[in-house]
Amino acid sequence: MLKVENLRFGYVPSVDIFKDVNFTIHGGEFIAIGGKNGCGKTTITRLLMGLEKPTEGRMYYNGADITTMPPSKRGQFIGYVFQQPDRQMFRSTVAEEVAFGPESLGRSKEDVERIVNDVLHKVGISHLREAYPPTLRRGEKQRVAIASALAMESSILILDEPTSGQDGKETKELLALLRQLHAEGLTILLITHDMEIMAAECTRAIIMGNRTVAFDGTPEALFTKTADELHDLGLTRPPSVELSLAVPGLGYCKSMDELRRKLLAQLEG
């Protein structure tokens, strides 16, 4: 439903960050976008959102050309969560912050109220309605940012490294939330450096490299590549995959939970 064709982009005209980028994102996918630092993984999502203009190529949403559409219009179908949650908040309470999107879209007062209540409940921060965003904990700020994006009632959610800086507990809770949103039908694009998350959570991985899309397929196909190939993409195998390869007959394990289950079954059986 979101399709990009021959995208090319560079901040300086003569230096391409990437070119010949083609992919289609279908409804209900949970996509990881990865690659080395500076490979353009954040940039590609900024193009999708309309925050940067491509040098060449076109973008389509449900068949309609959106290449020149400004971000304020794209907000109706793409929600964007920036990397640092505290840089994207600018209002004095959580409820106001979340209401900003639907208000800008010109929703009625009742609608805004309903949407704010819904999304705050959904991300589990209803109790923080009146809190002042900068004083929240890291994980809570991240949730406010996600709630603000969800309030746009868009069908696609892009998150830029949402787990960076979060501790283990916050990361686990965040992933549970994303899983739930995905189950409810949201399409998720997750920029991540975290191989465990890429393997365990995502249905598809798009890896940027060599100034274009270097890999596009399932995490299993990605992580069963040779170590050299992965190294070239700036990736490593997640521990569960690495360990599953060390045990003959165990098969690919996408998470440590799966590894433990299969291993115990093998040992008992």
Partner: protein, 220 residues
């Protein structure tokens, strides 16, 4: 210019400003302005700063017009414009040819400006790009959430206001960390030294002597 220490250049700036006041005919002021522009051109500052210079020229013309409207005298209008131009261009030359750390070292060690203030000046400049980044981030976040900037002036004012407040509060929040950083790093100690070397050399004395001679000649 590169070989002169900052103090000499500061004195040059002051001298040129004094000359601009002492010179009362438009011909010599024009020579002074052209000489300054040549210096800018020679050190490649002109290319970096042409926008600022253009703005100053516009302002000089404006001042000249104001003078003309008020007094009806063309020469005095030209003098006003050129005088303003010569006094400001020399600042651009000073700042363009001197590293800021050398300038602060000179201001503190030779002009006896307390170190705190020299520090505040450079530290403020250090944070300017960060704040610009922060305000861009907020504007992008607003755009992603449906705020269109093509709206009327009122809408733009509103969005501007909503950028200022988080920026203000964040900068105040950072002030505490920065204050701790200063304490930890011995800021405000009694014997401050500078890594930059700004002591006067023979050539500086020669230039300063020249400046004094010219100024005295003009005065007489």
């Amino acid at each position: 210019m590169e070989r002169l220490v900052p103090l000499t250049k500061i004195l040059m700036t002051l001298a040129v400003s004094v000359w601009a006041i002492l010179l009362r005919d438009w011909q010599s002021l024009l020579v002074l302005v052209l000489a300054e522009l040549l210096v800018l051109l020679f050190f490649g500052i002109f290319r970096q700063q042409y926008k600022a210079i253009a703005a100053l020229v516009v302002f000089a013309v404006f001042l000249g017009l104001v003078q003309y409207v008020g007094s009806g005298d063309i020469p005095s209008a030209i003098v006003a414009g050129l005088r303003m131009l010569s006094m400001t261009t020399v600042f651009i030359a000073l700042l363009g040819t001197t590293k800021l750390q050398d300038l602060t070292a000179a201001l503190v060690t030779q002009c006896k400006i307390p170190y705190e203030y020299a520090f505040m000046f450079t530290a403020a400049l250090r944070f300017v790009p960060d704040f610009i980044g922060e305000s861009k981030a907020v504007q992008e976040a607003q755009a992603c959430r449906g705020l269109s900037l093509e709206g009327n002036i009122l809408k733009r004012m509103k969005s501007y206001a909503s950028v200022i407040q988080p920026l203000l509060l964040k900068s105040l929040g950072r002030s505490e960390t920065m204050a701790l950083s200063l304490e930890l790093r011995g800021f405000g100690g009694k014997n401050h030294s500078f890594a930059a070397s700004v002591g006067l050399k023979a050539i500086d004395y020669a230039v300063i002597a020249g400046l004094v001679v010219i100024t005295v000649l003009l005065f007489v």
